[in-house]
Amino acid sequence: MSATGAGAVVRPDREAQARLAARRTRRNFVGDGAMAIASGAALLIVLAVLAIILVDILHNGLPRLSWAFLTQEPREGMTAGGIFPAIVGMVQMVILMTLAGVPVGVATAIYLHEYSSPVSPVTRAIRIAVANLAGVPSIVFGLFGLGFFIQFLGAGIDKVFFHGQKVYGQPALIWAALTMAVLTLPVVIVATEEALRAVPRELREASLALGATKWQTVMHVVVPQAAPGILTGTILAVSRGAGEVAPILFTGAAYFLPQLPTHLSSQFMSPSYHVYVLSTQSPDVDATKPILYATVLVLLVLTFTLNMAAVVVRARMRRRQGVPA
């Protein structure tokens, strides 16, 4: 047999291969280790930034926070009192913008995903437009709101219904809410489309095979199945919008208001804009600083609550559908 001969020829080769493999393993080991350290460090940086922000805000804001702070209006040039009008203003604005924006966004997504032909150039153009809308800086939305809603729509309403008296042709709750609705529209559309895409084709077929129309299938099977995703995306979009300053700057937010908004044409206060005002316009910086911190804390808590609500809603709806969350 030539086994010994062949073995003698093969052995050095094998040793070389083993050495090579060992070196490769070592290099992989070093590579893996470096990667793990680098990515771990990146994670630490993110966590550290978050921790610094939270600790700073909690440390400086918590002492000033009280029931009175939440239920009183600002006094003495914003060096005393609370932020009650700002909280009310934010709640009103968020409700209005949700009512105005979410149905339009969800309906648009349903049209795009369920009815339009995926290869049609019009559909593609709308998708690109939506993606671009999401990339527009929020200050541009603010200017759009000023130009379109206030100076065009509002002024038009005033001319027709109020004999030119300025009612709607000025910054107002309704215009700020509509501007914010436009701002959140692309996020709602994208999230809804994502949720619709996740509905299995089998479910649509099951419904259609039972003699359901397309509309019945969309309303009774597709949308309920996608509802947790739609709701989560919507709440996240709303919570993102709730903290924005730029869009409401020109369209409705007030520096200071002695009374709460009573009409759609009223101006309103908002915690986010209030933070800007407090940090730049205060006559007494030392007196304002704790109020500023406490306001930021309230703003964070409100936004965080909305985000948590999104998580809870999704988990609950999934459970109700019998899908393990």
């Binding site: 290869v119 077929e205 099951a206 419904s207 039972l210 359901a212 019945q216 009774h220 199945q225 899908v323």
Partner: protein
């Protein structure tokens, strides 16, 4: 008739298929097919993967047109009424010709609501009538005894075999005339498969059943008639006992004796 022909219908044909051809884009998927499907019997469609049997089945209740780029030519008549043609609503066709799919696809609703779905969208609102028809459909699908105490539980908690019988019950609840089944047992274990086959036999007393199957033994067990498809062509269609014992075409014989496929 010829090997590619139509068996002499001993009874009135329920579904008459003539010249049916299905294209995906430019590519012909199956056809032209001519076939007489006899009422209140089971007809099995067999053949290797990709032979067009599922495509053919789905064109019997116009499910293919949901696939973009799909084009259908030819004529299908249900009791003489054309199912393709101008002014014919696919929704109305699907109410008369129900379908059960390869993978069980219950809605994420309760067991009762799954079965009631077709009734509700069809405009049945009376709670008593719905309850009665849900029970009847579940009984017909041999599932009632297993689920009668948990009708309001999620359908997703049922086993695979139970889910598939639930889908059959759901299809039966709207009282179609024809039931199309696309490999209804392919994802099930042997015991659940036996359940479904038994069920198909019982269903053929009232319904016309057309079943696609990969499994030749299954076709032999459940079907009165069997059609053999190969490379997008209907090769042979005859009584099951004839097709399996005295096939006319050498390709049929090769397939059923296991020489390919």
């Amino acid at each position: 008739m010829t090997a590619n022909g139509v068996p002499k219908p001993e009874e009135q044909a329920k579904l008459v298929v003539r010249n049916l051809t299905v294209f995906y884009g430019e590519k012909k998927a199956v056809g032209p097919v001519a076939m007489d499907i006899v009422g209140q019997h089971v007809t099995a469609l067999i053949g290797p993967s990709g032979c067009g049997k599922s495509t053919f089945l789905r064109s019997l209740n116009r499910m293919n047109e949901l696939i973009p780029g799909c084009r259908i030519e030819g004529d299908v008549r249900l009791d003489g009424d054309p199912i393709y043609g101008q002014g014919i609503d696919p929704v109305a066709v699907r109410r008369r010709i129900g379908m059960v799919f390869q993978r069980s696809n219950p809605f994420p609703k309760s067991i009762a609501e799954n079965v009631a779905y077709g009734l509700r969208i069809g405009g049945v609102n009376d709670a008593r009538e719905i309850a009665m028809r849900v029970e009847r459909a579940l009984t017909q699908a041999a599932l009632w005894e297993e689920v009668k105490d948990r009708l309001n539980d999620s359908a997703l908690g049922l086993s695979g075999g139970q889910q598939q019988r639930l889908c059959i019950a759901r299809a039966l609840a709207v009282e179609p005339e024809v039931l199309l089944m696309d490999e209804p047992a392919s994802a099930l274990d042997p015991i659940a498969t036996a359940h479904i086959e038994e069920l198909i036999n019982e269903l053929s007393e009232h319904y016309t059943v057309v079943i696609v199957t990969h499994n030749m033994q299954q076709a032999a067990r459940v079907a009165d008639y069997t059609a053999f498809f190969y490379l997008g062509e209907l090769v042979e269609f005859d009584r099951t006992d004839v097709l399996f014992t005295k096939p006319n075409d050498s390709r049929t014989e090769d397939y059923i004796t296991g020489r390919f496929g």
